[in-house]
């Protein structure tokens, strides 16, 4: 990047951050009677650079440079309430709701709200605790075997030992199964403390432990 590019990035990122802070505050103020867990983040610059290099997207077309994430309890009605209140009250130029709770995006389930304000796009991710745990587990798996796996790209298994390949297959299967069960939990509207929800938590705990506690140093 040239000094001019850096100066532009500096200026843009300050503007993004100001807009993001104002949106986050606006959303937070919609839930003063029962505060929600909300945070905002500006995309990792390296990921942004990678995205711009690997696609034909322009900077103005990248949807998730800035965004907020809300994590709610494992209750459909709570997730619905948060989404509804945001879209009914937030003052933006345009918005679009992408509900991935029934039809997942390669296993990922959540509700995203894309907001457009002053030519900027802001992505609001509304996840239940379980959807968030699945997303984090899948992300950690992606860091091990290649981030493309999260978007359906095949894993280059030859990089791994036979033992690791067996573990990878188990983790992949476990993630797919957990995602299906999270979809089912939504469809059947399970209670937060139901056995089914606890079981999915526990399955994801096992997968996380396989990812985190295995010595993956055998890969060449």
């Amino acid at each position: 990047m040239t000094p001019t590019d850096w100066a532009l990035f500096d200026e843009l990122s300050r503007e993004w951050w100001r807009t993001l802070t104002s949106i986050k505050t606006e959303i937070k103020n919609l839930f003063t009677e029962s505060p929600i867990n909300i945070s905002s983040r500006m995309k990792n610059f390296g990921t942004l650079r990678e995205k711009l290099r690997q696609t034909t997207l322009k900077l103005s077309e990248v949807r998730d440079i800035i965004g907020c994430r809300v994590v709610v309890l494992n209750l459909n009605e709570e997730q619905d309430l948060v989404v509804r209140r945001i879209i009914e009250n937030i003052e933006v130029d345009k918005f679009k709701v992408i509900d991935r709770r029934i039809i997942s995006n390669h296993g990922y389930r959540a509700v995203h709200i894309e907001l457009r304000l002053n030519r900027m796009r802001i992505e609001i991710q509304v996840r239940t605790e379980l959807q968030d745990l699945w997303a984090r587990t899948s992300e950690a798996f992606g860091e091990l075997v290649g981030r493309g796996v999260r978007y359906g790209k095949a894993i280059e298994l030859e990089r791994f030992s036979t033992h690791e390949q067996i573990l990878i297959a188990q983790i992949e299967g476990g993630l797919a199964s957990a995602s299906n069960k999270i979809g089912e939990a939504f469809a059947k509207n399970y209670e937060q403390d139901s056995t089914e929800i606890r079981e999915i938590h526990s399955e994801l705990g096992v997968i996380n432990s396989l990812i985190g506690n295995t010595d993956w140093g055998l890969q060449s």
């Binding site: 500096d10 986050k24 500006m42």
Partner: protein
């Protein structure tokens, strides 16, 4: 609060953390650029986050604030006997 994390993806570990108040967003942006410009390592994520507290960030961005991820940072911050 505003937090800037430097995170090693493959190792799942935080390499550094800077904390700012909401009023210090300009200083936080300066620090972000100071960290981002020389970084050429794709394994290192540099992310600027904001929430009411670190507890909220643990809930929404657990990846950066898990026990494992924070191990290095806690070791650096531990008092020396």
């Amino acid at each position: 609060m505003i937090v800037i994390v430097q995170y090693a993806r493959q190792q799942g570990l935080l390499l550094g953390i800077d904390r700012f108040t909401d009023a210090q967003s300009d200083e936080a942006c300066d620090r972000l650029h100071e960290l981002v410009k020389p970084n050429t390592d794709d394994n290192v994520e540099i992310v600027m986050l904001s929430a009411d507290s670190e507890e909220v960030l643990t809930k929404t961005h657990g990846k950066y604030f898990s026990e494992k991820a924070m191990r290095n940072i806690r070791a650096q911050q531990a008092p020396v006997n």
